[in-house]
């Protein structure tokens, strides 16, 4: 038992030491291994490697409430901490728009920017009768019960909303009729679609890479401004090309506490812009299936306001918020 105690204490100590040793901190609002963890670890490392910050930035994991615990922590207890950055993504914006963070709102922190994104996709099995995005959307318009969508987020989450945005553009507004099931992650959603239990999968492009290469699925549309570079992706049409003007990407970025000085805010946004322009980040993006998507500072704030407003409208119609 002593042995076990000691060993355990060692593991815990080393974990503790890792998170105490330095001044600046990046909070990943989830357990190690997820998207937010990746954002914190890679951005922090590159910031230090390219000399954008003097000292290494330490990563802390604070999981809970889908990022809500970290958000309330930053708003309530760290409001003036100038040495703090927090990982964020589309999920953060979606949950803020839906009041899922205990009533906290997006203006209680400052968003620094996004420097990469996982573009959204709509996918069907290789034998599906739907050959284009229009085929699929028309089928839903004609009979909403004939198509079930599967995605990796819960109902009302970003994967669900992407489908509703696309349907909204082609004039289908009875969104509560659209059938959607939330399963455990994007790959599970693909499995259900290939198995024929659902007709289409909504998710991010990084989730479909393996199945795309093996030829098990057909990607009907990617919700990005332009086609994605790379042999496997350049054949995939954007939704825009098909007359459905939706850009829905899962961006990766950062926010900082609300009450820090403009100086500190500018210091961090400069550092973030430097990371975005670096070769190291380009490499990290390719490795993780991210497409370039750089919006820093005011540019990003404007984009975010638009996204949050649209999510709020859709969520009210869905009944996820009142």
């Amino acid at each position: 038992m002593k042995l076990l105690n000691q060993a355990c204490a060692c593991v815990l100590l080393s974990a503790g030491l890792l998170s105490q040793a330095t001044a600046a901190e990046c909070i990943a609002p989830a357990n190690p291994g997820g998207g937010w963890d990746f954002t914190c670890r890679s951005i922090s490392k590159i910031m230090h490697d390219i000399g954008a910050v003097d000292k290494p930035i330490q990563v802390t994991n604070m999981a809970g409430g889908g990022g809500g615990l970290a958000y309330t922590h930053v708003v309530n207890e760290r409001g003036t901490d100038e040495e703090l950055i927090v990982a964020a993504s589309s999920a953060t914006a979606t949950r803020l728009a839906q009041n899922a963070y205990a009533g906290m709102t997006a203006d209680q922190v400052k968003f620094l920017g996004a420097i990469g994104a996982d573009p959204g996709v709509l996918v069907v099995g290789k034998d599906s009768p739907f050959k284009s995005l229009t085929d699929l959307l028309d089928a839903v318009k004609a009979d909403p019960t004939s198509v079930t969508f599967a995605g990796g987020s819960a109902a009302g989450g970003f994967d669900h909303l992407k489908v509703l945005m696309a349907l909204g553009r082609v004039g289908f507004t009875d969104i509560s009729k659209v059938k959607y099931i939330g399963v455990d992650g994007g790959a599970d959603a693909i499995t259900q679609t290939i198995g024929g239990f659902t007709q289409a999968m909504t998710g991010d492009i990084s989730e479909v890479v393996g199945f795309l290469k093996s030829g098990d699925v057909r990607v009907l549309a990617v919700f990005a401004d332009e086609r994605i570079a790379g042999d496997d992706f350049s054949d995939i049409p954007t939704a825009k090309e098909q007359g459905v003007d939706v850009v829905a990407v899962n961006w990766r970025g950062l926010y900082v506490p609300n009450d820090i000085s403009d100086e500190a805010y500018n210091k961090w946004s400069d550092a973030l812009a430097q990371v975005a322009a670096s070769d190291e980040w380009a490499e990290a993006m390719t490795a993780n299936g991210l497409a370039p998507f750089t919006k820093v500072g005011a540019d990003f704030a404007g984009y975010l306001d638009g996204v949050i407003a649209e999510i709020q409208t859709l969520s009210k119609e869905l009944g996820v918020i009142k």
Binding site: M1, G65, T148, I181, A187, G195, G210, V320
Partner: protein
């Protein structure tokens, strides 16, 4: 055969001194992580991910380390189940049922050796299955939709009643409490939080480990305090450490059967290791001639769940590698690790990265042997643990669990919740309601509900969809038989003690 030359290449990758060392370190850490009630395999692997990054390990090395930890934790979970009646992690839950009674009879060492061998058989079987059948087995996941999964979970719940042989009603009540607790958190089908009282801490639901430590360890502390140590269940007799060859030979059939059941449950992405060990135990109990001795220290009741959960652990790697769908909590963390290492698991992984896949399979074989070798001599050390007086041991284990859970969540809320579960566990013990079905309710309830509601969304509310495939119908029949059969059979098999109940 191609498979063997690929495997030979895999061993060439895995058998470098550095990888061997990582495998041994991983096995030792994994065994400890598994044995500590506050830390499960998924947490253990998650904690080690940042460490493997800071050591700059490459993809193969990280995988070697992490899968050794994973297999090690599956072995380690049984230790506290047997010695303390506190499951080290969720799949080791079923091992408490017969493992602890065996320890109480002074057969702790036998139970540990037997379960170690059972773990080895289960894990080896699963690794062989992974090696030969992975690409083919991946297709099985395409056959299971919401209706089929729902029927599978229903089967588990229908056989639950037979678990507590003395009082089925109390087992049913316990399962309902567990189901109720599993409702807490975000509702997947509507995206709305349920029963959280507006607290963000409850949005992700109740963690199994919090419930396990509370219901088992903390409740035990309360009982211990109340009785001044007299009524405590802790304090098993020490016996001589001998290798029970006869027992191993006799339970070998049980191990093989349990491995098959566990492996199948592991391969299904929605099921997982806990369901694997549960179904393995129930299957063994159902076909055995001496049903009554299950729950009182039957060696086969120790061998079956251990072989089952280790086979399920290996099985869960099949959908993770071939489809990118994690079959359990731990494989979800491993999947995240792979993605961070720029490896996309999926249908192409076996073709694109054979070095990695076969290196991994070779590592699994190596880790398995290391664990068997580690675990048999180590039994003596673990049994020594019992000579520590309970008043030191019990609070010590509980304290380590508290620290473990706090280090993961960093919130005191989980600790309060754990004490709450301790109080609940104390009262349930007083009125003789078993706690194992509560944990199963929490573990399986959520999935079962999700699958039912997904099925209803797909079919537009038409309940006949639940019986729309041969697989679903088969599982429904098995579930109904599992539920009804004991009622009729009990007329013939009724034991005298049941009458006086």
């Amino acid at each position: 055969m191609e498979v063997f030359s690929l495997l030979a290449d895999g061993f060439a990758v895995a058998l470098t001194p550095q990888n061997m060392m990582l495998a041994v370190i991983g096995c030792v850490i994994g065994t400890m992580v598994g044995a500590l009630p506050g830390l499960g395999p998924s947490n253990g692997v998650a904690i080690l991910i940042p460490i493997s990054f800071s050591f700059g390990l490459d993809a193969t090395q990280s995988l070697v380390l992490m899968t050794s930890v994973y297999y090690g934790a599956m072995y380690g979970g049984r230790i506290s189940s047997i010695l303390l009646n506190i499951p080290g992690d969720e799949p080791a839950l079923m091992t408490t049922l017969d493992g602890y009674p065996m320890a109480k009879q002074g057969r702790a060492a036998e139970a540990l050796v037997l379960s170690g061998v059972a773990s080895f058989v289960g894990a080896t079987f699963a690794t062989i299955g992974l090696m030969f059948l992975a690409p083919w087995l991946a297709q099985v996941a395409f056959l299971f939709g919401p209706a089929e999964y729902f029927a599978l979970f229903l089967l588990a719940f229908c056989t639950l009643g037979g678990m507590a042989s003395n009082n089925q009603r109390k087992a049913a009540i316990a399962a309902c409490i567990g189901l109720g607790i599993s409702m807490i958190g975000l509702d997947n089908s509507s995206g709305m939080p349920r029963l959280t009282g507006g607290s963000l801490h409850l949005m992700d639901g109740v963690d199994f480990l919090v419930a396990i430590v509370g219901l088992f360890a903390v409740a035990e502390v309360f009982i211990f305090i109340e009785s001044h140590g007299k009524e405590s269940a802790i304090g098993v007799k020490l016996g001589k450490v001998t290798i029970p060859f006869m027992m191993i030979v006799k339970s070998f059939g049980a191990m093989v059967r349990a491995s098959v059941v566990g492996f199948i449950a592991g391969v299904l992405p929605g099921a997982g290791a806990s369901l694997g060990s549960f179904l393995a135990y129930m299957t063994e109990k159902a076909i055995s001639k001496d049903k009554d001795t299950f729950g009182t220290g039957n060696p086969r009741g120790v061998a079956a769940p251990e072989a089952g959960n280790n086979a399920a652990a290996g099985g869960a790697l099949v959908p993770m590698l071939t489809l990118g769908v994690p079959g359990s909590g731990t494989t979800a963390v491993l999947l995240a690790l792979l993605m961070t290492l720029n490896i996309t698991p999926g249908p192409m992984l076996f073709k694109e990265r054979p070095d990695l896949v076969w290196g991994l399979i070779a590592t699994l074989f190596i880790a398995n042997f290391v664990l068997l070798i580690l675990n048999v001599p180590l039994v003596k050390i673990f049994v020594k643990l019992l000579s520590v007086p309970p008043w030191v041991l019990l609070p010590g284990v509980t304290m380590v669990s508290f620290v473990g859970i706090y280090s993961l969540s960093g919130s005191y809320f989980d600790l309060l919740l754990m004490i709450g579960f301790g109080v609940l566990g104390y009262f349930l013990r007083k009125i003789d309601v078993p706690t194992v079905p509560i944990i199963l309710g929490i573990l399986l309830g959520n999935h079962m509900e999700d699958k039912l509601r997904q099925a209803m969304v797909i079919s537009g509310g038409d309940w006949t969809y639940l019986f729309s495939s041969p697989i679903a119908i088969g599982l429904w029949i098995a579930a109904i038989v599992g539920f009804v059969a004991p009622m009729f059979l009990s007329k013939f098999l009724k034991k005298p003690s049941a009458v006086s109940d």
